[in-house]
């Protein structure tokens, strides 16, 4: 009973949040809908004992990325009502067509693979692949090379972003 509630409450919040992202007219409401989806997803991770993944989800996506989104929305002042006319001719038909195809594909897979509703909750002592020790152990021994490569890539991306945004002319005239 409690387990079912712990699944269905965040799951329905995820769907409601996703619908807000799509249908709300105001960009700030869209962003907050996305935050709702991300936080509810973190709750689902916690029920699966993947606490580390849940906290990183909250910290990185809900905490940092979405705050920056909101910051940009507020700074450049796009928090007006969005225009509802089609920018590409017939885009509504195209999108609803693709949506129908995807939904029918999903339904076909669900029916053909004998999909059953089975809510599985790990016992308390269960060590999921999401505890900090297990993740650190895998990351810093087995996957150390890809990990270092990715960190190098991120530094290159950051340096490139600064180099592109840095206006040397403006800086010199101010000094």
């Amino acid at each position: 009973m409690v387990e079912a509630l712990l699944f269905f409450a965040p799951a329905s919040l995820i769907i409601i949040g996703a619908l807000i992202v799509i249908f709300a007219k105001n960009p700030v409401h869209n962003a907050m809908g996305l935050v709702m989806t991300l936080v509810s997803l973190a709750i689902i991770y916690i029920t699966l004992n993947a606490t580390f993944v849940a906290m990183v989800q909250m910290l990185v996506y809900a905490g940092a990325v979405m705050t920056l989104f909101l910051f940009v929305i507020m700074m450049i002042g796009v928090d007006k009502k969005e225009q509802t006319t089609d920018s590409i001719k017939g885009q509504t038909f195209l999108v609803s067509g693709v949506f129908l195809i995807l939904i029918s594909l999903l339904a076909y897979v669900a029916i053909s693979s004998d999909f059953k509703w089975d809510l599985w909750f790990p016992p308390v002592e269960f060590d999921a692949e999401g505890t900090p020790q297990l993740i650190a152990g895998a990351l810093f021994t087995e996957w150390i090379f890809p990990f270092e490569i990715i960190s190098l890539l991120l530094i290159v991306a950051t340096a490139a972003a600064i180099a592109l945004a840095y206006d040397t002319k403006k800086r010199n005239s101010n000094a």
Binding site: V28, H29, T51, A64, L70, M74, M75, T131, P132
Partner: protein, 365 residues
Amino acid sequence: MSTELIIALIKSNIVLAVLLTNTILLIWLERKLVAGMQSRVGPDRAGPFGILQTVADAIKLLLKEQIMPLKADRAMYLLAPIIALVPSFLIFMIIPLGPDLNIEIGGKDYIVDFVGADLNVGVLYFLALSSIAVYSVVLAGWSSGSKYPLLGGVRASAQMISYEAAMGLSLVPVILYSGSLSLVDIVSSQSGNLSTTIPILSSIVSFIPKWNIFPQFIAFGIFFIAAVAEVNRAPFDLVEAEQELVGGFHTEYSGFRFAMFFLAEYINMFNMCAITATFFLGGWLGPTFEGILPPIISAIMPIIWLGVKTFALLFIFVWIRATLPRLRYDQLMELGWKRLIPASLVWLILSAIVLGLREFGLPWS
């Protein structure tokens, strides 16, 4: 209902009661302390020493009319005070208040742990929730539909994101020293006294408790500065700089909704000090005087020790507020990005080197 659920309900109610009464005490204490430092009397009418002044203020705020600006965004305007309050209560749940207590009721042994929840990712939980708290300020500023709150909200988001980085980085050496992300383990790793291999020093050093503040004094400094900035207290209260922004992000809030922001600020302040005490000052550790004092008092001594440490830090918070003038916005950003973050990175590398040498010895030996 299961026993765990009942225990959880009792715990959360106790936390609510403790935090609310604590806030009343804290606001009175701050006003009295600031008044004393500025040679004023401070509140002295309601109750003995004016201690009921906060209660009177709270009742006044509850009864006041709540005004919503015409151009406000209704949903977000109502949501912002709630987002402010919820994380501040949730953060308190992970602070360990004492060791596990064995209680015998009706011949059965019960173990009561004096912590809301001992998470194995406690430090990350604390950082995640304090980053959620940013939304309340941003949304309150934006949804008011007025220029001063908007400026306050934009400032707040920039400030809190910048200082969160320094705060997280200054905690990493502490985690390395304690070897755990759980706050309960971090406290228990600080029990005992310092030890050293140098024979002359060992007799002096062995009296000092093994608190993280002694090996990690720089991390403590960075964390404490970032904590003051994170809860938007003076000298980092640019978010609500009266001279420039009227009241900052909560200019358009009145009545109980304003009280919720006020409450959240003071609870956050208390949480920050309790967490600083847990990370750096040994948390609830301290002599319990078992055998000298009656057993019931020595059983709650850990809570008293944590309270003493927390209120000592809160005194420093108030002292800083009464002493230092506010920083300018660019000075604030410079302090965060050019001083605190590089300093915490250098300190992290130094701590890692020292720990590595202690663990594995010199690389050439």
